[in-house]
C-alpha cells in the first residue's frame, strides 16, 4: 500500500516510491518537488519566504525559506541514497492572492520573489526544472509521485492538471 505524506506550511518531507508527498492550499508559497529518477527517491518543500539572510533575528526554521529549504531537502534526499547529479525538480505556487487595485505592493510580489529565489537556488545546485505552474492569482494543492515524477495540481474551479 502506498502512502501520501503530508507537508505543512514551512515544512519539507522526503519519500520513496511508491509513496507520494502532498501539500494543500499553496498560495504565495512555493512547492518544490525534487526527484532522483533512478532511486525513485523524492521530496517536497513548502517554502514561504525567499531569503533567510534577509531576516533579522536569526530564524531557524530552515523549511520556511527558499534558499535554506531547498538545500535541506536535497541533503535529506542524499541521506536516503539519492544522487544530486541526477536530481530534477518541478515547482508550483507563488500566486498573488490579492490584487490591490493598481498598486503593486511589496506584499503582492512575495509570490513572484519566492519563485525567483527558488529558481536561483535550484540553478546554483544544478538541479534542472522540468516543469512549473507558478504565478496567477489562485491557490494550488499539489501531489508528487517520485515513481513517475508526475506532479498533480488542483485548484478551485479548475480540473486537475499533471505536469
Amino acid at each position: 500500500m502506498s502512502e501520501i505524506i503530508k507537508v505543512g506550511m514551512a515544512d519539507l518531507k522526503t519519500c520513496v516510491s511508491p509513496n507520494g508527498v502532498t501539500t494543500l492550499g499553496l498560495g504565495s508559497c512555493v512547492g518544490i518537488a525534487i526527484r532522483d529518477p533512478v532511486t525513485k527517491i523524492g521530496g517536497l518543500a513548502h517554502v514561504m519566504l525567499p531569503d533567510s539572510t534577509a531576516i533579522r533575528n536569526g530564524n531557524l526554521t530552515v523549511a520556511k525559506f527558499a534558499d535554506t529549504g531547498i538545500v535541506e531537502l536535497v541533503l535529506q534526499m542524499e541521506k536516503l541514497g539519492a544522487k544530486r547529479s541526477r536530481m530534477v525538480a518541478k515547482i508550483a505556487g507563488g500566486a498573488t492572492m490579492f490584487s490591490f487595485e493598481g498598486k503593486s505592493t511589496a506584499m503582492g510580489q512575495v509570490g513572484q520573489r519566492n519563485v525567483e529565489a527558488t529558481k536561483a537556488k535550484l540553478k546554483e545546485l544544478r538541479i534542472p526544472i522540468l516543469a512549473e505552474d507558478t504565478g496567477a492569482n489562485y491557490g494550488r494543492t499539489v501531489i508528487f509521485y517520485p515513481e513517475t515524477g508526475e506532479f498533480h495540481i488542483r485548484a478551485v474551479g479548475k480540473s486537475e492538471s499533471v505536469i
Binding site: 492550499g25 533579522r56 506584499m107 489562485y138 491557490g139
Partner: protein, 207 residues
C-alpha cells in the same frame, strides 16, 4: 522592545490582545447588524497563537473554500488585516445583503462580490476603528481586496507576514449568528514595532 518576538509579546500581553480582539470583533458585529438590519449575536472571541500548520486545520482544513478580505493598515501603526469566512457563510451574508437576489447554490456574481467587499470593508473598518479609539492612534485602512480560494492559500498571505518574525500566527476567531451560525476569523498583522506602539498607547510597560 528591540528583539522581542511575537511569542513573547503574546505571552506577556495575552489578556490585552484578547480584550482588543474582543472589543474589535464586538464593534465589527454591531456594524454588521446595522448593515443587515437584524440582531447579530456573538460568542466571546477566541484569541489564539497558532502554528502555521494548525491554522488551516482549525478552519476546517487547508482546502476548505473560504472568502478572504485583505487590506493594508497605515497611520501610526502599519501592517495589514484580514477577515475570513467560510464560503457558505459568505453566501448567506450576501443573500441577506442583496435581499435574496443571489439564489441558493449559485456562483458568486459580480454584484455579490462587491457586496461582500463592502461587508469586509465595514467589518474591518469597525474593528480598526475601535482599536484606534482605545489606543488614540491614527489607523487608516487601505481599500480591501477580496478572494475566494482554499483556506491554506488565503492564509499564506498573513502567514508570510508573520513568518518574517516568527513561526506562529495570531488569530481571533469570532463566532456570530443571526438565524444561522457563522464563523468569522480576524487576523491583525501589525509589524512588531506597531505592537509596541499599541501597548505603549494603552499605558502598558513595554520592556
Amino acid at each position: 522592545m528591540g528583539e522581542m518576538t511575537l511569542e513573547q509579546v503574546t505571552e506577556n500581553y495575552y489578556d490585552v490582545l484578547k480584550e482588543l480582539g474582543n472589543i474589535g470583533a464586538g464593534n465589527a458585529m454591531t456594524a454588521l447588524a446595522q448593515m443587515l438590519q437584524c440582531k447579530v449575536d456573538m460568542k466571546v472571541p477566541q484569541v489564539r497563537l497558532l502554528d502555521f500548520a494548525s491554522v488551516g486545520e482549525m478552519m476546517g482544513g487547508e482546502e476548505q473554500i473560504m472568502l478572504g478580505v485583505f487590506l493594508g493598515v497605515e497611520g501610526d501603526i502599519t501592517g495589514s488585516m484580514m477577515f475570513m469566512v467560510e464560503e457558505e457563510s459568505a453566501r448567506h451574508l450576501i443573500r441577506k445583503i442583496t435581499m435574496g437576489m443571489l439564489p441558493e447554490g449559485s456562483e458568486f456574481e459580480e454584484m455579490g462580490l462587491s457586496a461582500m467587499k463592502e461587508v469586509g470593508n465595514i467589518i474591518t473598518g469597525a474593528y480598526l476603528n475601535s482599536l484606534s479609539m482605545m489606543t488614540n492612534l491614527k489607523i487608516f485602512p487601505t481599500p480591501p481586496a477580496l478572494t475566494i480560494d482554499m483556506a491554506g492559500a488565503i492564509l499564506s498571505v498573513p502567514a508570510i507576514q508573520f513568518g518574517i518574525f516568527g513561526d506562529k500566527i495570531l488569530l481571533i476567531q469570532s463566532q456570530f449568528y443571526d438565524d444561522v451560525e457563522l464563523d468569522g476569523y480576524f487576523i491583525l498583522i501589525p509589524d512588531l514595532e506597531s505592537y509596541a506602539r499599541i501597548l505603549t498607547a494603552l499605558g502598558l510597560p513595554v520592556v
